[in-house]
């Protein structure tokens, strides 16, 4: 910190340390556009949604305040309970899959010394592909008549009858989970790779001298080294995955018979039938999860 002798002007401005001091005003001026966007398209809609969730609003009708009726109705609605349960299953398996695949591929790339840039580009492909395209392609791959997976399975004689992966209750959830992992794992792999490369090499050399084997080096050096990155990637990606409307809507639209319906899809279907109050309540039921994650991340960022 440089110690400066205050000029007259600076001393004067020190005296006016209120909200309207010049530095404060310039700060507010620069952040004003972003804050206006957030006020009109985040804070206001959020307030509006909370209010709506407490009314019996349907499209075109005046809303009447009904208290927590919508929430009570929701928790008695079997489809909502299925959607909530499916969301938990979907997010957990997707995140576990992305973690394992992401870490595994990051370790592979980390060891690869030749053409690493090329392989990193290959791994990025699913992430670069627009989501709506990726999930249409997976819907095609799973198709019983013309899909690659069924062509492969019947040609190799693994199964005689094609499987309707997205139309069969036994397979639908696992199939959409797999497609979501495919599309999302590159983010994890790339972040983990960068974190692995940032772990100081001397640590490994010292451990090797001490006779630690590969597993011990991974367990005691690599893993603690990339732990902060794992945490952040995990949280950011979890929020994205809770949000995966398109992954479900484009492949199964929630079917067969609600087998893959998750909360955003449930809320969207509610809006399509004009039950705005109830849909708003359903959408808001995603908030507790998001809040837990947000608090986690805020604390993490503060520590750094």
């Amino acid at each position: 910190m440089v110690v400066k002798v205050g000029t007259q002007k600076e001393i004067a401005s020190k005296k006016r340390e209120g909200l309207f001091a010049p530095t404060n005003l310039f700060g507010y001026f620069m952040i004003l556009p972003a804050m206006s966007v957030l006020f009109f398209f985040f804070a206001y809609p959020l307030t509006f949604e909370i209010w709506t969730s407490l009314t019996d609003a349907t499209l075109g009708n005046d809303a009447k305040f009904v208290g927590v009726d919508n929430y009570l109705k929701l928790f008695a609605d079997p489809e909502f309970l299925t959607a909530a349960k499916n969301s938990v299953v979907y997010v957990s398996f997707v995140q576990a899959g992305k973690f394992i695949l992401g870490l595994g591929i990051a370790i592979l790339l980390h060891q690869k010394l030749v053409a690493r840039g090329f392989w990193r580009a290959v791994v990025l492909v699913p992430y670069a592909m627009p989501g709506f395209v990726a999930f249409m392609v997976w819907k095609l791959i799973y198709n019983p008549d013309v899909g690659a997976l069924n062509i492969f399975l019947t040609k190799t004689g693994i199964t005689d009858v094609p499987i309707a992966f997205l139309g069969d209750r036994t397979w639908a959830m696992a199939s959409v989970i797999f497609a979501t992992i495919w599309r999302g794992f590159p983010f994890w792999a790339i972040m983990f790779l960068a974190a692995l490369q940032a772990v100081p090499k001397e640590l490994y050399e010292a451990a090797a001298v001490d006779g630690a084997n590969a597993w011990h080096r991974f367990r005691n050096i690599s893993l603690p080294g990339i732990r902060p990155v794992i945490l952040i990637v995990f949280m950011l990606s979890t929020i994205n995955t809770i949000n995966s409307f398109e992954a479900i809507w484009l492949t199964t639209a929630g079917g067969p018979s609600d087998a893959t319906v998750i909360l955003p899809v449930f809320a969207y279907k509610g809006l399509a039938t004009f039950q705005i109050g109830e849909s708003a309540a359903a959408a808001l039921s995603m908030v507790p999860v998001a809040i837990v994650i947000a608090i986690f991340l805020l604390n993490k960022l503060k520590k750094d």
């Binding site: 709506t52 709506f132 983010f187 790339i190």
Partner: protein, 262 residues
Amino acid sequence: MLTLVAIFVLFPVYYMITLSLRSQSSLWSKSTLLPVDSNLDNYRAAFENTDFKRALLNSVIVCGTATAIAVLFSVMAAYSLVILKFKGRDTLGRIIIIAFLTPGALLFIPLAVIMANIGLSNSLQGLILVYLSFMVPLGTYLLIGFFRSLPPELEEAARIDGASRLQALWMVLLPLVAPGLVSVAIITFTGAYNELLYSLVINISPEMRTVPVAILNLSVADEVPWGRTMAFSSIAALPVMAIYFVGQRFVVEGLQTGSVKG
């Protein structure tokens, strides 16, 4: 091992392209994973399809405009949060992070109602405004990371040399965060381009559709014209993927700076 990874990652892209070159009758008569009966009919159909061309134009207009605005607003906000020391800075920064962490699917209902109430449903302007709601927090979050990675004395030094705040920002700080601007532009642009839910609920009329909705609407009930859908999808995906790979360095740097140093 890496070969397996490559097959896993690249097969869907390969399948999309081979099928985009085949007719529906070829798909049904020959079940094979190899490219057969290849022709450009589906692509020709795409370029003769006015709805699809309109959707491509809509997407470019909406995403291009929204990206330009989002980058500008995000730079201003990130600069002010990192460089300027003003009262209430921490609270405002926290609000931006909360908005960044809010799943988009949370707000599509009120946003659809609000847009209808102010007469901006079924308009490109409405979609631009709605997209800013997630692009600005995302851009600001990423750029905070880039501004933080600059040496803090830099701005002060420029000011001591007689530069005003804006001159210091324009001539000293911005050139240094330029890679960040590129990465934010690519990440927010693709985020908007890929967006389906808002577009689906806010722009219902066919002439205001964006690309994802147009492709979804190729299917009638459960009947998907696969060859055609894959051709349209390739046209929609390949330019964006090209941008991604040309700007790969920036994208990766953006993701890392935002998540690790941010």
